[in-house]
């Protein structure tokens, strides 16, 4: 059974369609529940965001509600430094996070792919933060970073740094502090995906190379890395989008502060809609975020050739 499942990797396209066993409506019936849920709770909200982006819409100032044309967009691009600040921070956040997570995740995957004593325990332990939520990650790192009983206190006991520093409330340390907290949870994601892909590198390739006398570093560049390329491209893009959109960690860890220092675009949007009730403007910002992500998704589709095997 296992063999059969493992060997038959290639999809078996339906060959002879049996009229009796396959009513023509069946596939539509099967996707109907998923399609309806997604239409109602993803597509419709997306459309309404586009609609609101062209409106002045603020429940607390109903007298101003109405069609606004592209005013919201014009305001965002010409008159709202916070939009540019948060967009820049988002880009910075995504770039640093994804880059470092990939680097450490790749290294970690290569290490735990070796055969050594205690490998399964080692794997389980290094992967464990993957399952921890953003809020819980925040809780843990709030405990670590707090000024009285956090790790800084014990570091200060050892003569490193000074007492009473809180890395999360100082504008010069908040970025690295938040990056480290998110790395803690994000590295295992890459490690797991890359490790999974490493399982499919044929050992014969290395052996052939070994005969040619290639060093391990060369093997990595010539065999391992090219093999991993697709997985890396895909996981990086998925992760970049995820890091862009995710608000749990920063919302709970720093609240976007201090002084707006760690506010990403989605956090700014959430504040604009939830706190300031400026739904119209928030929708316009959301639309801008969509367009940026759409650009990513096109790249993503190109690279992964998704659904291309069906022909």
């Amino acid at each position: 059974m296992a063999q059969a499942a493992a060997v038959a990797k290639r999809p078996a396209p339906p060959r002879r369609r049996r009229a009796s066993a396959t009513p023509r409506r069946l596939p539509y019936l099967l996707i109907a529940p998923a399609a309806l849920l997604m239409l109602g709770f993803i597509a419709y909200p997306v459309v309404s965001v586009f609609y609101y982006s062209l409106q002045n819409y603020n429940p607390t100032k109903p007298w101003r509600n109405g069609f606004a044309g592209f005013d919201n967009f014009v305001h965002a691009f010409t008159d709202d430094p916070q939009f540019w600040d948060t967009l820049t921070f988002s880009a910075q956040w995504v770039f640093v996070e994804v880059g470092l997570q990939l680097l450490f995740g790749l290294a970690l995957a290569l290490i735990v792919n070796q055969t050594f004593v205690g490998r399964s325990l080692g794997r389980a332990l290094v992967f464990s933060p993957w399952a921890v939520s953003g809020v819980l990650t925040s809780a843990i790192w709030v405990l670590l970073y707090n000024s009285q009983t956090g790790i800084t206190r014990y570091l200060a006991d050892m003569g490193i740094g000074s007492y009473g520093t809180s890395w999360l409330s100082d504008t010069s340390t908040v970025f690295p502090a938040a990056v480290v907290a998110d790395l803690w949870r994000g590295v295992p994601f890459f490690a797991i995906l890359i490790l999974a892909d490493l399982q499919s590198v044929s050992k014969d390739l290395y052996e052939a190379d070994e005969v040619d006398g290639a060093s391990r570093a060369k093997q990595f560049w010539h065999i391992t890395l090219p093999h991993l390329k697709d997985a890396i491209v895909l996981s990086t893009l998925l992760r970049a989008v995820w890091e862009f959109n995710n608000v749990d960690l920063l919302y709970t860890l720093t609240g976007g502060g201090p002084a707006g220092e760690t506010t990403t675009l989605p956090l700014y949007i959430a504040n604009t809609s939830v706190d300031a009730h400026n739904f119209g403007y928030a929708s316009a910002l959301t639309t801008v975020a969509f367009v940026i992500l759409l650009f990513c998704s096109i790249v993503y589709l190109r690279l992964s050739k998704f659904g291309g095997e069906e022909k």
Binding site: P11, A107, L234, G255
Partner: protein, 294 residues
Amino acid sequence: MITEIAPAPERVAAEPARPRRKRRAWDEVPRRQIYVPLSIYLLFTLIPFYWILLFALRRPGSTSLVPWPMTFEHFEKVWNERAFGTYFQNSVLVGIATLVMTTLVALAGGYALARFNFRIKKAFMLALLCTQFVPGALLLVPLFEIFANLRMINSLVSVIIAETVFQLPLSMILISGFIRNVPYSLEEAAWVDGCNRFTAFRIVVLPLLRPGLIAVGSFAFVHAWNHFLFALMFLSDQSKQTIPVGLNTLMSADSVDLGALAAGGIIAAVPVVLVFAFIQKWLITGFSAGAVKG
């Protein structure tokens, strides 16, 4: 079945026929190069876990680095006074309901995608993929309005639906990949033996999908358990809220009760850690089955 595929490297290494010395040359990296970086990384991974355990178990006001004498008063406090008992029930309910709904709906859809060619298939696949780029956080306002119109605000149903909807696309892509790995001929053979399509699926395909379904179901559960924003936005009564919202409440208090926060964090972590330990061995294989690569 899947465990048989997972440890392939060891199996190869155990074959005695190969010349042993040559394989050593490339296979065996010096121990130092494994254990030193691994230990450093493990410290980074484990110190935060130790830290939260320490805070949860040591007495209030203590600054000792070992949780001794041990106390459970933080747990009692957070469970009773801070309503984590209620939050826990709600989170379990949301997690399990999301798991069941996601798996069933994704199984139906995934089967259609794996086994049929139909007119809107390409478009549907594209739509599934596009949803990966739709940030749930940015749809909060319209989603809130929808649930308000359906009179579901402040009901766990709204959170369950929202979590399910955002879990569905990836789950469906994964499941259709798993189904594709099961040879169609097995099903056809069952039809010849007189099964209808559903029975053939139930008897032949479903048992082979078990590892994949466990992985997808666990993902759905863990995501619903961990996710925070929908519960924060759609549930206003304290009696309806979930654990992540409870943690956030503890964190955003003016003076944070660190012991209670740590104990609450442990309560939040336990089910997820259990699920994770349970699915760990399926995780690598589930992904390497090529499902994620699309």
